[in-house]
Symmetry: C2
Subunit: 238 residues, 2 copies
């Protein structure tokens, strides 16, 4: 199966959580909008009134006749197919629950620089962004890290990966979360990281995986930038 991923071509954004799964698994996929005329193809698809089950927004994945949107839903679908989640229903639901919690965290990270509106410039909501980012770094980041660190700590199957011995797409997403937070909030992360040794070790373990490491050093990995979910504004990293 050749998967077709549709996502904005110039940012990591939410699409990156899917890219990491496809890359780590060595899956056959096309990152459609990054190809010549691919962006037009994506927009045409999204605007077509002929599509009976349209996505609300990218990313979306075409898998044969299926079109699947919502990042966590795409990973739920891909998980067992890419051997990135155990096949039992309880494990799949648990992995998905964690992924949805990461999705909430991602949305909150985004809203630090756009607390008022996604259609206004950062500069037009900078005062509000400062307040929201202060709350995010002081309250929310520790709350989410406490949660994931706690799961790694109490996992009877070991704390190598979040579900135990085997890697899952949740580990890849937690890796990406830490990457993004380090880019956006280096000072806050500098203060916090030593309190979350298991999460940091998991990040390092994921980043050292051979297929993932070669992806990360390839031109396929779009660098973090000021258009994505994770953005670095020094004034937000108090």
């Amino acid at each position: 199966m050749r998967y077709e991923l549709y996502y904005w071509p110039s940012i990591q954004g939410r699409g990156e959580f899917v890219r990491l799964a496809l890359e780590d698994a060595g899956a056959d996929y096309v990152d459609v909008a990054r190809r010549p005329k691919g962006m037009a193809a994506m927009m045409r698809f999204m605007e077509s009134s002929a599509i009976e089950r349209p996505p609300f927004a990218p990313p979306f994945l075409k898998a044969g006749k299926l079109v699947i949107a919502q990042t966590a839903n795409i990973l739920f679908y891909l998980g067992p197919r890419l051997d990135l989640v155990p096949k039992s229903e309880p494990s799949r639901l648990w992995a998905h629950q964690l992924q949805l919690t990461i999705a909430d965290w991602v949305a909150e990270a985004h809203d630090t620089h756009h607390p008022i509106s996604g259609s206004l410039y950062y500069e037009d909501q900078k005062a509000e962004a400062k307040r929201r980012a202060a709350d995010f770094t002081a309250e929310r980041m520790p709350k989410f890290f406490d949660y994931f660190e706690g799961i790694l700590k109490r996992n009877r199957k070991g704390s190598e990966y979040i579900l135990g011995k085997q890697i899952s797409y949740v580990d890849l997403s937690l890796f990406q979360m830490i990457e993004g937070l380090r880019y956006a909030f280096p000072r806050a992360m500098g203060r916090l990281e030593s309190e979350y040794p298991r999460s940091v070790a998991l990040h390092d373990r994921v980043g050292a995986r051979s297929r993932l490491a070669s992806y990360l050093s390839s031109p396929r990995r779009i660098p973090f930038n000021q258009e994505g979910i994770f953005r670095h504004y020094s004034e937000l990293d108090g």
Copy 2:
């Protein structure tokens, strides 16, 4: 199977999306935290370090030995068991995709009154709330309604319900979304509703279902109030 739902006992909130599914299906369930000492039981569970797969936040559902959190994940699990979604994988993924889009909408509705921090009072973020709510009512509400109305319009299986002829938990959630928005933003909804006749008709069709109607008029239905996701502040409903 007697399901145990755990959620804050004094608000509709996110738990209501699960309650509606259980009620419409006539399922056997206990709303644990609304029972005597139930709140203490919920807090004890959440704080226990013995739980290997803890929820990040309510709602969560106990189904036998399973504990499932994240509203959309709970509905994904319950859907086929309550006959509130077709059993095929493509239909389940599609329903879940829509539910996740509703979850995003719910989070945005919440953030209209808490754009800076969930741990600050509304009064301490009122100026920011006014800006965010203005964007929400002018831009985001129409965008989400356009999307769902468009799906109802193009559905070849008919537009009685969002998946066609048969009701699904997504319809119940869309009903709840409209209920909540009418409570929170009556003026904005007054302006918008006539543009979305299919969504409004779906809302009415859902509300007229016998089990749901008797739930809605029972004391089990907690009234909307100023502690939940949907809150009415006149100054936010421009």
